[in-house]
């Protein structure tokens, strides 16, 4: 059984509780001065990686947990959070403020990183809550020709590098099995991420964080999609309240819904 070398990609996104606002020029969502956090699904990936080690779930043990982020200078804070949760080290590929990478570019970058780090398991979030694309893990699996298990709610390790994953699918769950190396994306049901404690946050400051650029990987920020505009969604007008159940039925009949 191979020892696990886990790569955990994390993304810095606008905090999930913040209601995003479209900028005046209608080119993007306003990010300046807005609270950012680790993408919630990536939080789950880090937690799962750390738990695999803590609970000795993998027969071959866990040799390394490397957190990885491609993002603006401030993405370092997200990496430090991952380190405080229990990742061993971090890699930060710095992108200029205000620039975004498309999932395909991220997948290409991750492919090179996986090869460089000799990772045999990559645990990613199923989607980032800003772009909502839900593509990076699958694209990476395709580029590497590795098996993939998306929207995982349970991960189990067996003998001979076997990994069994329960996935959330439409209408229920599905269980698939493959051998390492493998790509897994996390669903909300996988675990409940821990909060980093103060001592761990202090310790995380001493952990190794490598800084790199896209050029180090021989890549550029290639844009296949041109964002023509970003607009606010059509606003719904609340129709107001009704007094009682009869009022509710009356209103729904009036609206043709009953």
């Amino acid at each position: 059984m191979s020892a696990l070398r886990i790569l955990v990609p994390v993304k810095r996104v606008i905090d999930y509780a913040v209601k995003p606002r479209v900028n005046k020029a209608q080119t993007a969502v306003e990010t300046a001065g807005v609270k950012h956090s680790m993408n919630p699904f990536d939080d789950l990936s880090v937690e799962e990686s750390v738990r695999i080690r803590e609970k000795n779930r993998a027969p071959g043990g866990v040799e390394d947990i490397c957190a990885f982020s491609a993002g603006p200078p401030k993405a370092q804070e997200i990496l430090r959070t991952a380190l405080a949760m229990g990742a061993d080290r971090g890699i930060h590929v710095e992108i200029k403020d205000g620039e975004e990478l498309e999932p395909l570019t991220v997948a290409k970058l991750l492919k090179k990183s996986v090869e460089e780090q000799k990772s045999n398991l990559v645990i990613l979030g199923k989607q980032s809550i800003d772009d909502d694309a839900g593509q990076t893990g699958q694209m990476l699996a395709g580029l590497l020709n590795w098996p993939q298990a998306t929207q995982a709610s349970k991960i189990e390790f067996g003998p001979n590098d076997a990994v069994t994953v329960t996935k959330e699918i439409d209408g229920g769950v599905e269980t698939v099995k493959a051998k390492l190396p493998m790509i897994i994306t996390t669903d909300l049901r996988l675990n409940t991420p821990r909060y980093a404690t103060l001592p761990n946050i202090m310790k995380a400051k001493k952990k190794k964080l490598d800084k790199k650029t896209l050029e180090d990987f021989g890549l550029t920020n290639e844009k296949r999609l041109k964002v023509l505009k970003v607009t606010e969604p059509a606003q719904r007008q609340g129709g107001g309240k009704v007094e009682d159940v009869d009022g509710l039925i009356g209103k729904l009949k009036e609206l043709g819904a009953l």
Partner: protein, 348 residues
């Protein structure tokens, strides 16, 4: 040039056109412009009706539209899809290796068929299957996929929600092969009617599977399917327990003939099955009537239901955000109001 193609294409099948003209236009479309492969889904040999949305979206693009199906015993499903008007042909690959839609062998299968057919567009539903397989296909074809498309402006311009539907992005693709997953509620599934497109066998690369399907556990229900139901009643944290959820929500659903949904809070607390979750990370629904019971209306939940035609809400907190978007809101204790509502609907 493209608009000329469009005009020609839109006239295809028009009875006044002579055969030669029709032949010319089809030649034209093959050599220059749009051709779409719509990926259809099957389950146990049955065509997944919702997946016919991909054909609807394909027809919107103009150009020729082919459907694609793979699995064991797909012929009946293929024949059924072939009845959709305007579909030029259905490509079917009969091989039980594709039954479960495992992305590791399904993606190379699609890639081979996409290359062979020289398609400019590939469309699948933004379903668990589409979400799992299509990005893998996109990477293999070096194309940046566009996910969860809600509107097609033209052959390269697409509209999709970002930030849990709090912003709407219009993007233009520069890729040679455009790969899209589409939101089913934005493209009504095409209905099989009088069409009789030929069914042809596709290429089968028979790539060795590197993963294995073990089992599945599907929530069984006689109620309508959540994603396509015309009425949905959804319960949240306010239901307090699974017993109460079942006791309060299920009779209401049955009285209305509605599907049952739930908020993430209700799912996390174990009141309802995960597959019933409505929201940014669960199902996106757009029924005629969405009734939110004991749901406050967090932005992640609204992302999954705010395109519903009529929204009703029952909540004891008059300041719950759900009331800002509800067409009809009732402030009150759901344990009193919902049973009363159920009784009154039944007796009316």
């Amino acid at each position: 040039m493209l608009s000329l193609t469009r005009q020609l294409l839109s006239k295809r099948g028009d009875a006044v056109l002579g055969r030669s003209m029709r032949w010319a236009s089809s030649r034209y479309s093959r050599s220059s412009a749009l051709s779409t492969l719509a990926i259809l889904e099957q389950r146990d040999g049955q065509l997944v009706q919702g997946s016919l949305s991909a054909l609807t979206a394909g027809k919107k693009l103009g150009g020729s539209v082919h459907g694609f199906l793979a699995g064991s015993k797909v012929s009946a499903a293929a024949e059924q899809a072939a009845k959709v008007d305007g579909v030029e042909k259905i490509i079917a690959v009969e091989n039980d290796a594709y039954d479960k839609g495992l992305p590791e062998n399904f993606a190379p299968l699609l890639v081979e068929n996409i290359k062979k057919g020289n398609y400019t567009h590939v469309i699948a539903g933004h379903t668990a299957f589409g979400k799992s397989v299509l990005p893998r296909v996109a990477a293999l074809l070096d194309s940046q996929q566009i996910s969860d498309v809600t509107s097609i402006e033209d052959e390269k311009t697409f509209v999709r929600p970002i930030y849990a539907g709090n912003a709407i992005a219009t993007v233009e693709s520069t890729d040679a092969i455009k790969i899209l997953t589409i939101r089913g509620t934005a493209f009504a599934p095409a209905t099989p009617e009088q069409g009789s497109a030929p069914v042809e066998a596709g290429v089968d690369p028979k790539s060795e599977p590197i993963s294995e399907w073990v089992s599945e556990d599907l929530a069984k229900s006689d109620r309508p399917d959540l994603s396509t139901a015309s009425k949905v009643v959804s319960g949240g944290r306010g239901l307090k327990s699974k017993e109460e959820f079942d006791k309060v929500m299920l009779p209401l659903a049955d009285a209305l003939g509605a599907a049952v949904g739930a908020s993430r809070a209700a799912v996390d607390s174990g009141y309802a099955d995960n597959s019933l979750q409505v929201g940014q990370t669960g199902k996106v629904v757009a029924p005629q009537l969405y009734m939110a019971v004991g749901i406050s209306g967090a932005i992640q939940h609204l992302a999954g239901m705010k395109d519903s035609k009529v929204i009703a809400a029952i909540n004891k907190d008059p300041d719950a955000p759900i009331f800002q978007i509800a067409d009809a809101g009732l402030v009150g204790d759901l344990f009193e109001k919902v049973p009363e509502l159920t009784e009154k609907i039944k007796s009316s």
